[in-house]
Symmetry: C2
Subunit: 269 residues, 2 copies
Amino acid sequence: MFFADLAARIDAIDSVLCIGLDTDRSRVPDHLRGADLPRWDFNRRIIDATSEFAAAYKPNTAFYEDVDGWRALEETIAYADGKEVPVILDAKRGDVGHTARQYAALLDRADAITVSPYMGRDSLEPFLSREDKGVFVLCRTSNPGGEDLQDAELASGEAVYERVAALADRWNANGNVGLVVGATVPDELEGVRETVPDLPFLIPGVGAQGGNAEAAVTHGLVDGVGLVNASRSVIYAGEERGRDGDGADFEKAAREAAKRLSKRLNRYR
Amino acid sequence: MFFADLAARIDAIDSVLCIGLDTDRSRVPDHLRGADLPRWDFNRRIIDATSEFAAAYKPNTAFYEDVDGWRALEETIAYADGKEVPVILDAKRGDVGHTARQYAALLDRADAITVSPYMGRDSLEPFLSREDKGVFVLCRTSNPGGEDLQDAELASGEAVYERVAALADRWNANGNVGLVVGATVPDELEGVRETVPDLPFLIPGVGAQGGNAEAAVTHGLVDGVGLVNASRSVIYAGEERGRDGDGADFEKAAREAAKRLSKRLNRYR
């Protein structure tokens, strides 16, 4: 069970930090560019440097959508798995039944996945039916455009994202569903928590996007289980230093950033 | 400009048929399984057999999400391009800005892409800003779960999918936006057409899903431009025959299925 494993991990390392591996080829430090798979080499070093504070890793598939990228992604997932850190594939998938079943094969590699609710239940069924895997449904996202559709008011008085939260709750027959709710919208975070007391949240937006860490922790966890994600603010923490120097201490900078953020989040747990 | 190129293609071959390359490894005929990239070998033969009737090809990325799959997909796109058939990548993407820019790189390879509206305008901006490329926004999808969220009634009286249609119309500053509306929901097709008279539709669901071909053509085209998609009913048309025989005439069966469907669609143009 994904959420039981995640709970054990959170307890073991005393951290709810999820680290997003949004590894942009153009931001891999120069001294790693000669590697066969620079993104994998970068991720391996980031994992070595930060796993002590990482309740989970979250590679976003967008950064791996090419031949070498998939190789790098597979190596990364296997490596995190070897370190016993759960991996959430940030894929935001969802498609008609026979196609969704193809996407669900992504879960053979990872422990959990993010999915889009727009196409409804049957588009998510192949994920939901994997009892051992976690399924995080996009609910209220952290980006400015999140309001375009998600905040629209329904005839029932709910916002679209609240309806999504209620649907996800209904889709949770296997106890493997969570929600993605952004730290940039703390009021909505609180509101969704009232609607669905039992679903753990995966909360992006506390790093580079400047979201509210206190609200994220206060409303995101259920029985202590939930994740607050930072991507760029951790993995590229050494970037400025690297540009002036030789880039070799990006691991140290990432480690410090992960440690700092993990401790900051712990203040509110 | 994607839609101008598509219009020229439709005129040149007198067909609005889009062929979905949902190439499942397990359904590639036995005699092709020994190839280095069976999916690419299959697609090449399907393209050779059907291009005369294909206004566009639409590979769904779900079927290519592994190392060999990305190689097969890249070869397939290049080959269709060499035959001057536009390629729509059915990816249903959409993510926060810096990530969406990564996904938008997918458009370097293809001529158009399908995207999900759930995360709003900024999540689609990197696609929308590619003036020369087509962007098909999911509106009312052909699957049963399409109703779960898309049919929800807003306080304004519109359904969610109608709001999406209106948003997409607003996002069409570059004249490169279309909508995905399923042939399985003919009433909704007609309604969306009334809401947005200017956006061409990409209409799945007339093949294996049993949708309404007449409604698809009647409401899907704008000045003759639009696409009606079939995937499995074309590319696997030879499957039954192949199971009994040697599987070698799957190309012929696909060609016949494409020709037949293209002509059927032409009755309503």
